[in-house]
Structure formats: structure tokens, C-alpha cells
Symmetry: C2
Subunit: 102 residues, 2 copies
């Protein structure tokens, strides 16, 4: 694996993004990413197995919510705030504001 697929900004779909965010574990990841950008998978606070985490990160990435940058043996994940803001202005901020109290 040398390159990871990221959907282009123009292909971001709201239902797909909402679906990616509808899982409690993934919503939690997004919450953490908002506070700690450039998080690695291992740096994430979780209870699930690492293969499960890998799957969740893939789901977020393929929905266009996150960007994954490969650096050596690690992957650093960040929110695609620029693209999300361009395509769905105000949505991410509104979500993060209410996502604090699950």
C-alpha cells in the first residue's frame, strides 16, 4: 500500500458523510481529531481492536471526512476541514459544537 484513496472535494456526498459520522466510535474519532489534529491511529483513544479501527478510519477517509498521510510506519489522520467547509459550509463546525455531549 503506497497510496490511499481520497475522494475529490467535488464528489463529497452528504448522505455518505452523515453515514460515516453516525457510528459512535467514528464520531468519537472525529471529535478527537477536532481537538488534536494529525492524530495517528495508535494515538487514538479506543476500546476496539486495531483491525476495527483500521476499518473505521477507512470509512471516514472514503467518505471524505478525513485525510490520511503516510509517514514511515505510521499514518497521520486529520479532518478535511477545508474541503468540508467548501462543500458544506458551516456543517462541520455545527456538528462539532453539538457533538461534545453525546
Amino acid at each position: 500500500m503506497r497510496e490511499l484513496y481520497h475522494p475529490p472535494r467535488s464528489k463529497l456526498s452528504l448522505p455518505a458523510i452523515l453515514h460515516a459520522l453516525s457510528d459512535p466510535t467514528r464520531l468519537d474519532i472525529v471529535r478527537q481529531l477536532a481537538q488534536t489534529p494529525d492524530l495517528s491511529m495508535g494515538g487514538c483513544d479506543t476500546t476496539v481492536a486495531k483491525s476495527t479501527m483500521s476499518h473505521h478510519f477507512k470509512t471516514l477517509r472514503e467518505a471524505g471526512v478525513t485525510r490520511t498521510r503516510i509517514d514511515g510506519v505510521q499514518r497521520f489522520i486529520s479532518l478535511r476541514k477545508d474541503d468540508l467547509d467548501a462543500r458544506f459550509p458551516g456543517f462541520l463546525d455545527a456538528l462539532l459544537r453539538v457533538a461534545g455531549d453525546k
Copy 2:
């Protein structure tokens, strides 16, 4: 069927709401409800079977997104904007603003 279950405001869950909104047909319903409050099921613009519509309306209602009022033989559906705004301030408005262009 005399009474329909509506979760109380305090039990509204963000993941459950995001899941309810992640289906294209249901997101479309919500978009229509925002423009035309108090819509009946039959008054909805859809392509799916009526049993499917009934299921989608149930999903939205049980997630706390909509309120269903029985009036004779019809059900009138509206957004629970008051409760959603109280529990997740700004979220519904932000969603509706970006949900125009799917």
C-alpha cells in the same frame, strides 16, 4: 394503532439522528418537511413503495427527527425543530443549509 412513540427530548442521540439522516430518501423527506411543514405521507414526493415510506417515517420518528400527528385517516409529519434546536443548537439549520445541493 392509537399512539405513536416519540422519544423524549432528553433521549435524542446524535448518532441515531445522523443515521436517520444518512439515507438519501429520508434526507429528502427532511428537506421537504423544512419547506412544507405538516406534510402527510401521501403528500410526499417519492419513488418508493408506500410500505417503504412508512418504514422511513418510522425511522425518522424513532430517531426523534420528526413528530407524527394522527388526524383521522392521515398522519401529518413535521420536524421536531424545537427539540432538535434545544438539544443540538444550530445543527438542524446548518444541515438544512447544506442539504440543498445533494
